[in-house]
Symmetry: C2
Subunit: 473 residues, 2 copies
């Protein structure tokens, strides 16, 4: 029975190996012959499809439309915004040959598409009547990372990138926060992630942005995962790309811009927040299969009953599958745990005779025996309970790893000995942040709130805000 499970490294012994074990054993990914690129296998991709479905619906409800831009960016186009190119050129993959001939100008595979959108916006924006423009794209981007890890850091990334243009600064700022809110609620309500939301420092903001907001999740090991960002650009790009519109007063103005994105990295966050030594654990609201039905024995009556239950679940919008393989029940139970199906439903001869089934919830592995006429109600309740329990569990763990410090020696000691986030007062200067990184290995996560009359934990100068520091993936 435990053969599958035995192969999973213990989470507390070696977190990194445990993580890749889960990714592989739960059939989420496979490595490919292309260094740094992974194959997202059907079970992993089904999680992404569920994420896409919910988010795409939220984007459309708030007036956004999908489109498809080219995947290549000519070097001269990438070079237009100086901060932006500095941020992305070092990790670019360059196409230099097309159709057996060297290209006149090399093109990178998009690492993000701000410049492509600006190039298009310049053509289609003429008047305030054309605004706002609320666009989104689902696509693959490429960043030539040196060290990679499934879902967290790969050379190819599946994501969505929203790009919007507005007639006023206020409207663009509202959009930046609206989309951040959608990410936050999605991650709390669907992914059961107790995320912290806030603004990035000058040092950590997106290349070319005025402000970057971030969704910070804390993993089981206390390390942060930046799990979504929303940027306000002002009219920085508008100006350098020469995008102008006639406002209501018939004057030419540069429109105000935002962009925002989340990636398949969210699958990594799910794994590193909820899973355990028995395998993957998925929140019911995002799980591709919510109930895994396992018949015990090959009795025709039992298989028929299973099909009846499967259909009943389906009619109640509960996704499910029946395991009809010729593996042993014990093996099937272990596999069900490795795959992280929120509930497994077992039906053997004795249960069948007693008009009942056995349910095992994945989060706690608790068993409950349920009479046939209460199956749907019990499963619905259990699914809700699992969803809530995963969130509560993660929240409790996260809170137990939040620290405060007002003394740099203590801060350094915490950084070395206590995984988690440390709340400090900070001056906000890039140099000071560089030093903290050098001396502790920690980076700023996000700003909590502005402060007055406080001193920076490191340099002792006037502090600008309270902020979290932490290690990051």
């Amino acid at each position: 029975m435990a053969e599958l499970v035995k192969e999973i490294t213990s989470r507390d012994v070696d977190f990194a190996t445990w993580y890749t074990d889960i990714c592989r054993k739960a059939d989420l990914v496979d490595y490919s012959s292309i260094k740094g690129s992974m194959i997202i296998r059907p079970y992993g991709y089904a999680i992404w499809e569920n994420m896409v479905k919910v988010l795409d619906n939220e984007f459309k409800k708030t007036g956004h439309m999908n489109l498809q831009m080219p995947m290549f960016i000519p070097e001269s186009l990438l070079n237009i915004e100086k901060e932006h190119v500095k941020g992305f050129a070092p990790e670019a993959a360059w196409v230099t040959i097309g159709g057996n001939e060297p290209l006149e100008e090399r093109m990178c595979v998009r690492p993000t598409s701000e410049v492509l959108f600006c190039d298009h916006f310049k053509k289609i924006i003429k008047s305030y009547r054309d605004l706002p423009i609320l666009y989104n794209q689902w696509c693959t981007i490429v960043r030539w990372e040196k060290t990679t890890r499934p879902f967290l850091r790969t050379r190819e990334i599946l994501w969505q990138e929203g790009h919007t243009m507005h007639a006023t600064e206020q409207e663009a700022r509202e959009e930046t926060k609206r989309m951040l809110k959608i990410y936050e609620e999605f991650q709390r309500n669907y992914l059961a992630l107790p995320v912290i939301v806030g603004k990035k420092t000058e040092k950590e903001k997106f290349a070319g942005a005025i402000e970057t907001y971030t969704i910070e999740a804390m993993m089981y090991d206390g390390v942060a995962l930046q799990n979504g960002t929303s940027h306000y650009f002002g009219n920085n790009f508008s100006k350098v790309f020469g995008i102008e519109f006639l406002n209501k007063e018939q004057k030419l103005e540069h429109p105000y811009q935002t962009s925002w994105g989340v990636t398949t990295r969210m699958i990594g966050a799910l794994i590193m927040t909820h899973s355990d030594d028995n395998g993957l654990v998925l929140p019911p609201k995002i799980a591709p299969i919510q109930v895994n039905l396992i018949p015990i024995g090959k009795d025709e009556k039992i298989l028929k009953e299973m099909e009846k239950i499967s259909l009943l679940l389906q009619e109640n919008d509960i996704t499910n599958s029946i395991d009809l393989s010729d593996k042993s029940p014990g093996f099937k139970f272990a596999e069900s745990e490795v795959k992280g199906y929120p509930i497994r439903l077992e039906l053997g001869k004795r249960d069948w005779e007693a008009h009942q089934v056995t349910l095992v919830r994945r989060d706690t592995l608790e068993k409950v025996v349920v009479a046939n006429d209460k199956i749907i109600y019990t499963i619905q309740t259990l699914l809700e309970d699992i969803q809530q329990n995963l969130y509560n569990r993660a929240l409790k763990r996260r809170n137990s790893m939040l620290y405060k410090s007002s003394n740099y020696e203590e801060f350094k000691n915490l950084a070395e000995t206590k995984p988690g986030f440390i709340e400090v007062n900070f001056c906000g200067e890039i140099d000071c942040e560089d030093q903290i990184k050098k001396e502790t290995g920690l980076k700023s996560r996000c700003i909590i709130q502005p402060v007055k009359n406080e001193k920076c934990i490191r340099c002792g100068k006037q502090a600008k805000y309270k902020i979290y520091f932490g290690k990051q993936y």
Copy 2:
């Protein structure tokens, strides 16, 4: 009013310019700064999203699962199957630099993913229990075309590619035809395209396949558009990639493979089959917006009534939008025609007082006045009627451009003077087909049926089958 429309070149004067006019004026695409790559704008992309929704559902109903493979193929991997590489290498785009360093081995951006799938299949297929594998991928591919045209021939193509592996030849052959059937029914029933379905000749089959089946649509100008293909590979790739499984008799065997795909080219087929000099015409079943509501005047009562009707349509699953812009009614009518909304609904003061609305169907531009309590029923009936009428109209036109010939001189004359498909007896030899191409400009479309005791139209040798020839996009 007619300003928008005037800018559309007449279809019968210059078909190619008419086509690009429709693509641009209906806001389907925009050109980008990247030669050969187009931007699929939100309205065009919404048509693609509707196509994806229907097809993805059909694929899943028949047991297929989506996944995501890398987008790059190392040169050595592409080189493994000789026929395949010969077919695709000449049009490849090569990445030679990543992260500021030259790559040890250059990689092409996938032109199709057979070799990537085979590389993965080799790892995950061990036993007959692992089969069939029924995978599909939605992604972008790249083919470095010299001359490009929106949707028909672009360097980047949005498509789906199905890749399946089977334990027996029979099962794989059935799969090849099952997916062809899904394409055929989708194109007939949703896109209203009267397609011709059949097998490709030796010369025209996919690089590396044993058999290629094709969906051939005929455009308004009599030129063919290959609008989907399904390939049977036998175990050609299995053998060269060393993919083996233990069959039920515990013997090692090479599995049997298929692949199949359709692309955004289907949008091109829609345009060139149904649209006219007033703009785009879309079959209601694939149109992003089925009814365009145009209020005449700014009377509060009329706007309120419009919102009521819009909601009512929505409740009846009829997609719609209200044009609240400050353009003139005449301009809105013209725009509604350019965009190809199947029905436009006009409501002015006189209609409002009489408790009625005016409906104009896009396919015939006929007007009908309808009492308020009959709106839903009438629109539902109209939408069905438009869908059927578009199909019938296209079928009639297509049939009027089908010819038969048994004399090569006559055939050459037809090829020169009559756009359309010509049915002939043909030997099937690659050399003979090359000659026909050279002498007439026509290529084989698809095999209609085998024949006995007939002679090839060109070489006079024993004919193998009846076949269509025609010009192609």
